[in-house]
């Protein structure tokens, strides 16, 4: 099933399918290891709900919801 990264629930894991984002953010995400096929787990929200923290390749990365929305994943 295809979802947006922002739709993952805490503790749920998906795999990166596609990045619908361009420019420097796309390069950053790739360099942080979000290449297609990578497992990504939602860890927690910030107190106000945004940004959200994910575990990627063992590291904790926080992304804003608007950016996470542009990452397609499969679960």
């Amino acid at each position: 099933m295809t979802l947006r990264l922002s739709e993952l629930h805490p503790g749920q894991t998906g795999h990166v399918l596609r990045l619908d984002t361009e420019g420097s953010l796309r390069q950053r995400l790739l360099d942080l290891g979000l290449v297609p096929g990578t497992a990504i787990e939602q860890i927690m929200h910030s107190p106000i709900g945004d940004p959200i923290c994910y575990r990627v390749r063992g590291a904790m990365i926080a992304l804003r919801q608007q950016d996470a929305r542009n990452i397609q994943i499969t679960i």
């Binding site: 390069q27 950053r28 360099d31 942080l32 390749r57 063992g58 590291a59």
Partner: protein, 264 residues
């Protein structure tokens, strides 16, 4: 006019040349660069190695902090330069430009890549890129105590065999493994050991494009140490690299026999 004699005196005003990058200061035999991801304890490694023999400033023309220091190992004097912490060397960000330009044009005698042993895979992304630029790489798998606490075990020998460069597990804040690291830096910088990096295989189309460019580059600049990396940067549209090719800055490499040829 413009003959080549004027170039060889280092008149390039387009980019800092090696002298400007290393910044003559202090007495040293070899230059060591310290690269790595942010949050890997890179500055702890830096402080451990240099102690109080360090000073800070900015990179020439940039508002990015630069720290350099000195240490001695086996009666040999080293100058250590701390590069900005980066996740990669392939984007246009100022930090990454500084780091990749220094490793290429600054021609350090050894580049230490500080990795976070708890997330080694991510750090290897940077290691693999640096291995494209230079053979003289030592991997410092730092925070090994944290990794052990998280029940992550590293097999240094196996990693070395896979990467083709020395891998030293360390815990800089406890001082563990640092003697071993110094020994490897010494061997690589003095040329006593010559690492043979095993590079990542890229997809066929990119490999064949690189394959077309490398012979041309080597014909133009016979001793170019890292034709693969130069080809990759040119394909990525790196203007700095195009400029270096045009201005003859890259050709400087063919005049310096100190850097051995990287086999591709």
């Amino acid at each position: 006019m413009g003959n080549c004699n004027s170039c060889s005196t280092g008149c390039s005003d387009t980019a800092p040349n090696r002298t400007a990058l290393v910044q003559i200061g202090g007495v040293y035999d070899y230059v060591v660069a310290l690269a790595g991801n942010p949050n890997t304890g890179k500055s702890t490694v830096f402080n451990y190695l240099t102690g109080l023999h360090q000073h800070t400033g900015n990179w020439p023309g940039k508002t990015v902090a630069r720290a350099e220091g000195f240490f001695t190992q086996a009666d040999t004097r080293y100058k250590l330069i701390d590069l900005p912490g980066t996740y990669s060397l392939m984007t246009r960000s100022v930090d990454e430009e500084i780091a990749r330009d220094f490793i290429l044009f600054g021609r350090p005698d050894c580049t230490v890549v500080v990795c976070d042993a708890t997330v080694l895979e991510r750090s290897l992304h940077l290691v693999l890129q640096i291995m494209e630029i230079t053979n003289r790489v030592v991997v410092c798998a730092n925070l090994i105590d944290e990794a052990n606490r998280k029940m992550i075990a590293l097999e240094a020998r196996a990693l070395e065999a896979e990467l083709g460069v020395p891998v030293v597990p360390t815990s800089a804040r406890r001082g563990h493994g640092m003697d071993h690291l110094l020994q490897h830096i010494h061997e690589v910088a003095t040329g006593a050991a010559l690492p043979q990096p095993r590079r990542a295989r890229l997809d066929d189309e990119i490999e064949s494009a690189i394959g077309l460019l490398v012979p041309q580059l080597l014909q133009m600049i016979p001793n170019l140490p890292c034709p693969r990396w130069v080809a990759m940067r040119l394909l990525a549209g790196d203007e700095r690299m195009e400029q270096a090719l045009r201005s003859g800055e890259l050709a400087e490499f063919s005049k310096d026999p100190a850097q051995e040829l990287v086999l591709v």
